[in-house]
Symmetry: C2
Subunit: 622 residues, 2 copies
């Protein structure tokens, strides 16, 4: 450590001044939550962390995650002070023409993951810590939480994973300022109660005065010396520290000091706290040089190992493909939540155990860690039952704001899982993932298309979701068939198609059965495999509308809202076509898969009925 | 306690036999997780719990929540043994013609909440425990968890709330059988490690041998004697207990013994474990009689306290209405996640502090407890920022399977919140809630409609969601105007409408501005307030299509998927109409609300452009 204590104290004061000034200029923001964290930030940024302040994306830089994202102004001030950009930029805080947003997003080069939904940053930090191992770098991850965040269960999921993976390259700090948004926190300044929790979760736990720079430096040093487990520094602080009138006062969360006299007086009060003898900070560069990111070689991948007619569940084909992609691309990692023997991610674990991360039954940290891993160059494939991905919806939402390169898979979709009943049946996952901005949504029907689409997912830049099914389905595509994201397949087509049936997954096979039944009665229909729902192949859907006089029927193992029906509907609307939908319209119950498809109206029989009804009554403007 | 130890041992064995037999008959299910819990179940059901086995819905019965829902067969066996239904029914397990589903749902009268998504039952148990206080009953709540569930963060959210609310009427039991689905749990049989966590979270914690009936009885008695905090009984057990060949063996999760020789041999092995001297169980009735549920008196509620032109944010009008509804209906309770001063649920807290439950920043337990409260007759209104409701998506999904009478509110929806940035902007909440089966989705624009709709929500049987906005908007409806769920309002209409603009919330006011601008240019348009999106007023939407030659334009502060565009589109499709959509199509950024509406294409200006484009080019079949 070469930056002096006096310098660190003054830098803390400077960060306070910058936080007050920028929020006052913006007219909104959370200055008091910055003031409590000033010494934590100055000691981390100017004495503890090793990084190149001119290149925040250097792969060997120590990482800093601001889990308490509403303290964004002090994060921005810290980087300005480190020299990344001029301090005057801070006055553009929260303006539409600035990337210095109200809460941090990766539009800024020094932000790995978007924060602002509490309890998520520490999950991302699990991911960046795991990544250091992946690339063989000695960089450390520091994550700053607010004490209110401890109420979020995801924090305890992260706590477990930090210990399970023995992440001694991870140091968390909680800014225990005892005040939440609307009232005091549950534990206030009872440091013993809080420490007891972290000790019980087996973190190396240190309690310090969060305004004592020497104590903070000692804690970080102790963290570095601690092997085999992560460290939690519990820093007792005062919200609003430095401004006597608002220190520790309720009612000041998310409130800027008024520009003009109020802010000027506050800044003057802070300026008086500058101490003598301070110099400039000296920031050490990266601790080591990790391995360069290895490149992928998809060219050598074999064709999908299936032949026409093979009976293979898409979930199993997904596992086979994931293992193959993992072998071809060392950036690929897989994360599980104790269902690897059902999703078949255990096939990946067998070929690449060092890149497989078990999270037990903790979907939030599984997704949060994936986002952190993706931020540092990995290509994570988190997976669980599709219904349980809903446990991490907020994380997926924030992942989109992070522009995260994460590839989600949800297995056991829909009522076709059968006897386990509605709690295990995802019937809203397509809706959820289609409303994630920029996320490709894929839903293959057979093993070959699954295999090809897993490769496409891995290569795709950005988020992607694949829905897989439990039942075995026959292979209907040859091994060389291509499945670009955004495409579809016309699997049956006649000269005089009276209707187009659009399905995916298990319903494609119901549509094929319906095709045969209708053909027997002299009715020709087109059958389309909508394996890519976002983006969707609008051209093929509109062409189907044109060919059939606008009789398009979607059939899906999903509720009516947000799935195949809505996707196709939106795609064909510009051409003036509407869609008839077959979907699950009740809370389903346990039963055998075939019984359920029939009972809930998405079997071949129902498709045949819908086609017959439609061809005798084409839609018209009433 | 009048049931003898020998009887409890034999009943445990009988529950084992029934669990093996029913899963073998079904050909699927989780017998080994039932076997580990047999003594826990027999001691709870036949010695500890006080209830009327002939009337599971008696409001003063002790409650039992099976958080480890996959142990459903032993729950069903326990109720059959208690005399609620004939044991032969158990052989219908998982059949489509039986309510004995793979995981429990409230289709069964003895199930309060659907389980099967782990870590949720204990949150519901917080709710049933709070409810006992609400109705002044001494009933106790017992909840059985699996040890794998401790990985779910929601369990620790529940742990905090149990202590914060001093729920000494709550006794949880964890069946520590050390095996998860795909491998050993994180902590195996290390009871000290597990106990340390619960002690640190300040529960009264007792470790017992989970196959020792006397030890279990002692633990429950100790729990009853413990005041001011809930009790956690950590029961060390063996998965598959009773069947020597599979006891403690991996690879037996979710696997039924094969009907025939394998199952018969197992049953014979269990039958040999029957002990001599056992009699019949004696089950004690309810501990006390609580207050009868008080009835509501909505008739006396005043008209909404607003006059035309008043500037009131719908979030604030929601808070005012919630407080009024709370005064009129003693069943109404409100739950917050540390944002009550932003959502305005603090207005309810002021008038009914005893029915207001703070959850700090823990959305999962807030929703889970709401589902538990609703199961026992309360009408819960959980609320937070709409974007943070996504933290509890899986709980809301399970709430729908529970047919829960819960009224969700999400505030600060959309980009119109302004400077806080994308992490705080719900742009997928309408999609999320529209895909919740049976949930009414409401989105008022002004204070009067908000007030009326809060009353409608409270009276509505089933789930409902209201989206409120941050900015102040003018009151446009008179205080006597009615707003039935499923309705809409035509707020502007001409003789020769060229287009219909459908908006809600802030976009309704953009539509009204567009109306004025277009009128100035001689173009008449219809403006519709779609305050109810699910169900939607299809008749009015189709009528608008008919009046305008099919020019319907939706405009929403939401992503394109799953919101107003999809809702209207689906409603008008049967009449052959399609919809043009204005929605947010990028990840937004911080800025001022008006700047953002303009930048992301949902301002009056964009509506005017869309109308002009549409009227010169009506959709046609291409």
């Amino acid at each position: 450590m070469t930056t002096s204590l006096a310098t660190l104290k003054n830098l803390a004061t400077q960060l306070r001044i910058d936080s007050v000034r920028s929020t006052s200029e913006a007219g909104s923001g959370h200055p008091t939550t910055c003031l409590s964290a000033a010494e934590i930030m100055s000691t981390l940024f100017y004495a503890e962390m090793c990084y190149d302040p001119r290149n925040p994306q250097n792969p060997d830089n120590d990482r800093f995650v601001l889990s308490k994202g509403h303290a964004a102004p002090i994060l921005y001030a810290a980087w300005a002070e480190a020299g990344l950009f001029p301090r005057e930029e801070l006055l553009k805080l929260r303006r539409i023409d600035s990337d210095l947003e109200g809460h941090p997003t990766p539009r800024l080069p020094f932000v790995d993951v978007a924060t602002g939904s509490l309890g998520q940053g520490i999950c991302a930090a699990i991911g960046t810590s795991l990544n250091a191992r992946r690339i063989g770098s000695e960089y450390r991850t520091y994550v700053l939480l607010g004490d209110g965040e401890m109420a979020e269960g995801s924090v305890w999921e992260a706590a477990d994973m930090g210990v399970y993976h023995k992440l001694d390259n991870l140091c968390a700090v909680i800014d225990v300022n005892a005040l939440g948004q609307s009232q005091h926190t549950q534990f206030g300044h009872n440091m013993d109660e809080i420490a007891a929790r972290w000790n019980a979760f087996e973190w190396h736990t240190i309690v310090v005065d969060g305004h004592d720079v020497q104590a903070l430096l000692n804690a970080y040093a102790e963290a570095r010396a601690t092997k085999g487990k992560p460290t939690m520094v519990l820093a007792r602080t005062i919200k609003g520290k430095g401004l006597a009138a608002i220190e520790g006062k309720d009612g000041w969360h998310g409130k800027a000091l008024k520009k003009g006299e109020e802010a000027d007086k506050a800044i003057a009060e802070l300026e008086k706290q500058m101490v003598a003898g301070a110099g400039k900070p000296e920031i050490a560069g990266p601790r080591s040089k990790g391995r360069p990111e290895a490149s992928a070689d998809y060219g050598k991948m074999a064709v999908p190992p299936y032949k026409l007619g093979d009976q293979v569940a898409t979930r199993e084909a997904w596992g086979v493909a994931l293992a193959a992609v993992g072998a071809a691309d060392p950036r690929v990692v897989a994360l599980d939540a104790d269902v690897k023997n059902s999703t078949f991610s255990d096939k990946f674990e067998k070929v690449a155990p060092g890149r497989f991360f078990e999270n037990f039954i903790a979907e939030q940290v599984m997704v949060g860690a994936s986002i952190g891993l993706a931020a540092r160059g990995a290509i994570p494939f988190p997976s669980t039952f599709a219904c349980f991905l809903t446990r991490a919806t907020d994380f997926i939402r924030m992942g989109a704001i992070s522009f995260a390169n994460v590839k989600f898979t949800g297995s056991h979709a829909g009522i076709s899982i059968g006897e386990d009943g509605p709690s295990q049946m995802a019937l809203e996952d397509l809706s959820m993932m289609r409303s994630v901005h920029g996320c490709a949504v894929l839903y293959p029907s057979d093993a070959v298309s699954t295999h090809r689409l897993v490769i496409e997912m891995a290569k795709h830049k950005g988020m992607a979701y694949m829905r897989t099914s439990r039942p075995k389905t026959p292979v209907i595509y040859g091994p060389d068939e291509a499945f670009p994201i955004g495409g579809s397949k016309v699997v049956r087509q006649g000269r005089n198609d009276k209707a187009a049936i659009v399905g995916a997954g298990v319903t494609l096979f119901e549509a094929l059965k319906a095709y045969d039944l209708l053909k027997g009665e002299g009715i020709e229909v087109r059958v389309i495999d909508a394996y890519s729902l976002e983006p969707i192949d609008a051209r093929t859907m509109i062409e189907a509308g044109r060919a059939t006089g606008g009789v398009i029927i979607t059939v899906e193992d999903h509720y009516p809202a947000g799935g195949i029906g809505d996707a196709v509907s939106q795609a064909v609307a510009p051409a003036g076509y509407t869609v008839r939908r077959l979907a699950v319209t009740e809370i389903p119950r346990s039963g055998q898969p075939d019984e359920l498809l029939e009972r809930y109206g998405i079997s071949a029989h129902h498709i045949v009925e819908a086609v017959k009804q439609a061809v005798t009554q084409t839609p018209s403007r009433v």
